[in-house]
């Protein structure tokens, strides 16, 4: 009996070690942390999120956000003008949490997230027919596939491409 118990403890310990090893491999492989944006600001969420998903600040560099925020009266073909106080608050929030990585060298700041190198490489495996799906409609429609885009979670686990 005593022997059985010792055996059990050994087997258990080995199982735990194996599990831990498997988990750390899984974590090492999982770079989803890059795709979760946890920053929040109530004005940004309600104003930017009124017409489209409130795109996380980390998806564009600060100069892009500044250019977007200074042209709201003609925002991708729509009037999205804001009162000065809200615009200032949102601009500060976007700048503070903007993408600080290396980005494309160009004369003009990129205004479309879908034109960033990052967006293109992340979506390189998405077949053309998915983009043409009426349920997707536009590359800017994150929520069509990223089911948790509204909460800033773009991890692959929560992607569901509409058929």
């Amino acid at each position: 009996m005593a022997l059985d118990f010792t055996n059990f403890v050994r087997v258990f310990a080995v199982a735990m070690l194996l599990m831990a090893a498997a988990m750390s491999v899984a974590y090492a492989d999982d770079d989803d942390d890059d795709y979760k944006f946890n920053v929040n600001n109530a004005t940004w969420k309600s104003e930017c999120g009124a017409c489209h998903v409130a795109y996380p600040p980390g998806l564009l560099p600060a100069e892009s956000w500044r250019a977007i925020m200074s042209g709201l009266a003609r925002h991708f073909g729509s009037d999205a003008s804001l009162d000065a106080a809200s615009a200032d608050e949102i601009t500060a929030f976007l700048e503070k949490n903007a993408d600080t990585g290396k980005h494309e060298l160009s004369d003009k700041p990129l205004l479309r997230i879908t034109e960033t190198r990052r967006f293109k490489s992340e979506h390189s495996e998405v077949a053309a027919r998915h983009w043409k799906n009426p349920g997707v409609k536009s590359r800017a429609n994150c929520g069509a596939c990223h089911t948790t885009a509204d909460s800033g979670d773009f991890s692959e686990d929560n992607v569901k491409i509409p058929r």
Binding site: C51, S81, S138
Partner: protein
């Protein structure tokens, strides 16, 4: 002095003779030894009743705020503001729901109308023509949040009129549309 003995004087501000009669009867019953009423003042002090009333009042107010969120304006007040603005235009003869409905459903510039996004039934959920984002019903009967914040009303009229008509709407047009929306029943 026990509270019930002063009832005829202390609380008689709004009472009638009939009520006094009833109270007298009650006092009479209460004077019987077995029904001796509890002397609240002697137990809780003089301010007990006042405190109870104020706490009760606060609770009622809090409950009221929870049930009915305090909006800055009502749609009718917003309409009144638009009317004041429209009155500055010579020849203003009031708003028309029928004209508002026609304006709402007519395509203006870029093949767009108000109903392109808000649908032909403003009591129904709409969808942004460009982004497909769902839009909550616009008619106040279907969505009590609508037209309760003048600042928000001004912001969206400015934006949407610029998109749909390539210009801002006149106070007359805005008032007509709101007059129409106020006639739309809940689905």
């Amino acid at each position: 002095m026990p509270w019930h003995m002063g009832a005829g004087r202390g609380c008689s501000g709004h009472s009638t003779n009939l009520l006094n009669g009833v109270r007298d009867k009650f006092i009479f019953d209460a004077e019987l030894p077995i029904h001796k009423p509890l002397n609240v003042t002697s137990i809780f002090g003089e301010t007990w009743m006042l405190r109870a009333i104020s706490v009760f009042g606060l609770l009622i107010t809090a409950a009221g705020l929870l049930v009915n969120p305090a909006y800055a304006e009502t749609p009718v007040e917003v309409l009144a503001v638009l009317k004041t603005e429209a009155s500055a235009t010579p020849g203003f003869q009031g708003f028309s729901a029928a004209r508002g409905e026609s304006f709402f459903k007519t395509k203006h510039s870029h093949d767009l109308s108000c109903s392109s996004c808000h649908t032909d039934n403003p009591a129904a959920q709409g969808k942004h023509a460009e982004t497909d984002k769902l839009i909550k019903p616009l008619a106040p009967a279907a969505n009590s949040e609508r037209f309760t914040d003048m600042k928000k009303v001004a912001k969206w009229f400015k934006r949407n009129c610029n998109d749909v008509l390539d210009r801002e709407c006149t106070p007359q047009e805005k008032g007509d549309v709101l007059a129409y929306l106020l006639t739309v029943p809940k689905n």
